[in-house]
Amino acid sequence: MPSNTGFTTALLQALLILLLSVGLAYGANIFAGGPALFAALPAGDGIRVLSVQEAKELKDAGAVFLDVRDALDYQDSHVPGAASLPLEFASEQGHALPLVVYCSDRECNKATVVAERIVKGGISVAIMPDGAGGWAAAGGLLEMSQ
């Protein structure tokens, strides 16, 4: 059975390691000219993050929506007019229309992955993290494919 003293020593040493690591992380970040420690992580260069309402307004303005879910999910329901572009078929090619990429909901990261690929092609793109679920929850229509 470990002694209390031994465990206390371990905790104190762990605390020392933590303090040393925090100091090194802080120093390295300053040295490297990194962002503020508590800065929010950007979605990626050139990627705008939209609320469902903003996405709706952009849709009314003619934005092209790309549904990056699997084809079966797309056939089940999707934002009206949205094109199906499952992750595995996403390419870096595109056109200069506003693009809004969405997936199922905030638990799905595929929209960000596809958006980052699109941005690499020099195309302005936005993601709607609330996805198809958020769209429907906000009263938006979802349509089924034939």
């Binding site: 470990p2 002694s3 003293t5 031994g6 465990f7 020593t9 371990a10 905790l11 104190l12 040493q13 762990a14 605390l15 020392l16 390691i17 933590l18 040393l20 690591s21 925090v22 090194l24 992380a25 802080y26 390295a28 970040n29 990194g34 962002p35 503020a36 420690l37 508590f38 800065a39 929010a40 992580l41 905030r106 638990e107 990261n109 595929k110 992955v113």
Partner: protein, 137 residues
């Protein structure tokens, strides 16, 4: 070299490699943490920065036999947290890369094998912790 020294050094080297990769590109590692969808956005970068250095410092301590009680306790706690995070995301079907030894978001996704590997590391960490000083009075 005794068995205890061998596994302590081996565990240390694993963490030195894992930490070094993360320290090289903390922003890429922050994105890996973001993909797990467990932390708020403003804690991602600081977590990535500190976690990389914690792994590196713990690894170096274990390799060189310095502060081994604290380092092994820290590693043990980290493995429990990592296993919990990976297990939770596997359970909810989130398709994310492990981010364990690479900051490539297109790396191999989480799998039961990833859990098994980290489970083995947890067992090793428990052995190192229990043999690295608690018996010494």
């Amino acid at each position: 070299m005794s068995f205890n020294t061998f596994i302590r050094t081996a565990l240390g080297l694993v963490f030195v490699i894992a930490g070094y990769v993360k320290v090289q590109d903390p922003q890429a590692f922050a994105q890996m943490i973001a993909n797990y969808q467990l932390l708020p956005n403003h804690l991602l970068l600081v977590s990535a920065l500190v976690l990389g250095w914690v792994e590196l410092v713990c690894g170096l301590c274990l390799v060189f036999g310095i502060l081994t009680r604290g380092a092994s306790l820290f590693v043990l706690a980290l493995m429990i947290v990592f296993l919990a995070a990976m297990g939770y995301n596997l359970q909810r079907g989130l398709d994310v890369a492990c981010g364990c030894f690479s900051t490539d978001p297109n790396g191999p996704p989480l799998s039961p094998l990833t859990l098994l590997r980290d489970g083995v590391l947890l067992v090793v960490a428990v052995i190192v912790f229990s043999t690295s000083g608690l018996q010494k009075r």
